[in-house]
């Protein structure tokens, strides 16, 4: 079984269902629109900020504020790519055609990851430039130190969120269960754990908390985070690897 055949087949699958288009479009629109809105609000709020707050002001990171919501659409994309196979019963047809389950899963993930990265990277650049335009005199330039890394990192962050969701969906199989766990986790629980003093030290090792540090250019004044931007993304990547390993083992061991 040539993996190239399976990759082509998975590309046909992903481009021929409506959910791919609407989840990815939603991710772009929500991230960009919310980024513009928050950038605009921040520009007007800037004069009311305290001195330390101004020193910590990170125009690049501000323009990515829409990702907190846009990533939810990326999660839906990642979950549906995998769990659609189970909820429709297509998985039995798919595995009869490609009985090498590792080849099947990783071809599917490769196609979906490439697509998520393309869309994520484009979203990241668009939201950066539009966000900076809204920030007026407080804006950052793409040539400033660390900014290009943060913008490319934004695309990587969205990609990793989607891949993490694919791994979880491969473990849990059902779309409702997967979304029911991932959505509240990333929208609420992770934020609470990361911002409450008692759990902050643990919370910052959660995938989204750690990974989002790649999008920071200005380090907050009293910051004691023990990892840098790439370290944070690395922590997130470890979470993703663990989810993928779990998904692979689940597919490999269980009956379809």
């Amino acid at each position: 079984m040539a993996a190239a055949q399976v990759v082509r087949s998975e590309w046909t699958k992903i481009r021929s269902v409506a959910s791919t288009v609407w989840t990815l479009s939603l991710a772009v629109v929500v991230t960009v629109a919310l980024g513009i809105l928050i950038s605009l609000l921040s520009r007007h709020e800037f004069d009311n900020l305290s001195r330390t707050e101004r020193l910590s002001f990170d125009p690049t990171f501000v323009s990515f504020a829409g990702m907190s919501l846009g990533q939810l659409a990326m999660i839906v994309f990642g979950v549906l790519v995998v769990s659609n196979e189970y909820s429709t019963g297509m998985i039995r047809t798919s595995l009869a055609a490609v009985p090498q389950r590792g080849t099947f899963l990783f071809s599917k993930l490769a196609v979906a990851t490439a697509l998520a990265f393309g869309v994520g990277l484009a979203t990241s650049f668009v939201t950066f430039f539009l966000g900076q335009a809204m920030l007026g005199e407080h804006r950052a330039a793409i040539g400033d130190p660390g900014v290009l890394r943060a913008v490319i990192g934004g695309g990587l962050y969205m990609t990793l969120i989607a891949v993490f969701s694919m791994g979880i969906a491969a473990i849990l199989r059902g779309p409702l269960l997967s979304l029911g766990i991932l959505m509240p986790f990333f929208f609420l629980i992770s934020n609470i754990l990361g911002n409450v003093g008692a759990t902050e030290k643990v919370g910052r090792y959660l995938p989204d908390q750690a990974g989002s540090s790649i999008m920071r250019v200005v380090t907050p004044v009293d910051d004691d985070t023990p990892y840098g931007p790439w370290g944070g993304l690395g922590i997130m990547a470890l979470w993703v690897l663990a989810a993928l390993l779990g998904g692979f083992l689940s597919l490999k061991k269980r009956d379809a």
Partner: protein, 320 residues
């Protein structure tokens, strides 16, 4: 050829498939018969490598399913017509299957034509009727032009025209020398299509025999006789050494008797007959009797061998 060797599947305490060994041979339709829940679908899923056997082995042309290169070109299967993403068009559904096995795109158009779905090829599968879904599943099975075809309850829920179409298709595939393995829980359906029969009950092999043999062995033949002079007739038959069975409606059933012989006896003794007809018990009855036994065997665990007629199949060895 499909070969099963001691194939067993356990779900916890429950044994779904129990030590199945048989071979499905080319050039004919092999019916896979058993009541609902007998383990037919589980067996078929294990043949395709979807479910892992607890014990035993199954091989396709001597090879494990997951070692086949481009498996759709060896064996095509219709397990569940609904195993399709409803949001995908029929064409794209078949295209992604074709691509994964290196089958050219032109073949997708061919099989759509064969099953008569070309007019709706660009329509989403979720709008398909049960019959159209079944045809799409069959198109997927035919896609790789495989030498082996496997269908799980293909006529379920189809209209008479669709049923006729599938029967004709299966027979023509077998006539081309392909291996055709089809499951059903209806004996009457199998009697019309299958040349060979594998019967299971409670996951066990109950019979592996030719259809003709099965009919001959399992269908009771008798002569039904009705007469206004029942006492005289039973005396006449008793005198000739023929035992009769009186049925509730005043008729006689003569086991294994020849209608001509009974008619001549009656005429010689001037007994009036209102009915004299040779009868054959339905295959459905024979099948029910056979599978009912499997329940008994199961209940008295430890009862010896299951009555399998393995000998017939031996004649085919070497041809696969």
């Amino acid at each position: 050829m499909i070969e099963l060797e001691g194939l067993t599947k356990r779900y916890g305490e429950k044994v779904a498939v129990n030590n199945l060994s048989f071979a499905v041979r080319p050039g004919m339709v092999t019916g896979f018969l058993g009541p609902n829940g007998a383990g037919k679908s589980t067996t078929m899923r294990m043949i395709l490598g979807l479910d892992r056997p607890t014990a035993g082995d199954v091989r396709i042309d001597g090879t494990h399913y997951d070692r086949l290169k481009d498996p759709l070109t060896y064996i095509g299967a219709l397990l569940d017509a609904k195993a399709v993403h409803g949001g995908r068009s029929a064409f794209n559904h078949l295209l992604c299957l074709a691509q994964s096995n290196g089958i050219p795109r032109a073949r997708v158009h061919e099989v759509l034509d064969t099953v008569g779905l070309t007019p709706v090829a660009r329509k989403k599968a979720k709008g398909f009727s049960l019959g159209m879904g079944q045809r799409l599943g069959i198109a997927g099975a035919l896609l790789g032009d495989p030498r082996i075809l496997m269908f799980d309850e293909p006529v379920n829920g189809l209209d008479p025209e669709g049923i006729h179409w599938i029967r004709t298709l299966m027979k023509s595939l077998a006539a081309q020398g392909r291996t055709v393995f089809v499951s059903s829980h209806l004996m009457s359906e199998m009697a019309l299509t299958a040349d060979h029969l594998v019967v299971i009950g409670q996951g066990r092999l109950l019979a592996d025999t030719s259809m003709a043999d099965f009919i001959q062995r399992n269908s009771r033949t008798y002569v039904r006789v009705r007469t206004p002079q029942p006492e005289q007739l039973s005396d006449v038959l008793a005198a000739a050494g023929i035992t009769v069975l009186r049925t509730g409606d005043g008729a006689f059933e003569v086991d294994g008797g020849k209608a001509e012989h009974i008619g001549e006896l009656a005429a010689r003794h001037q007994v009036v007959l209102h009915e004299l007809s040779p009868q054959q018990a339905s295959l459905e009855e024979a099948f029910m009797r056979l599978t009912a036994e499997s329940v008994e065997y199961h209940a008295h665990s430890g009862a010896g061998d299951v009555p399998a007629a393995r000998a017939w199949g031996e004649g085919w060895k070497g041809e696969g």
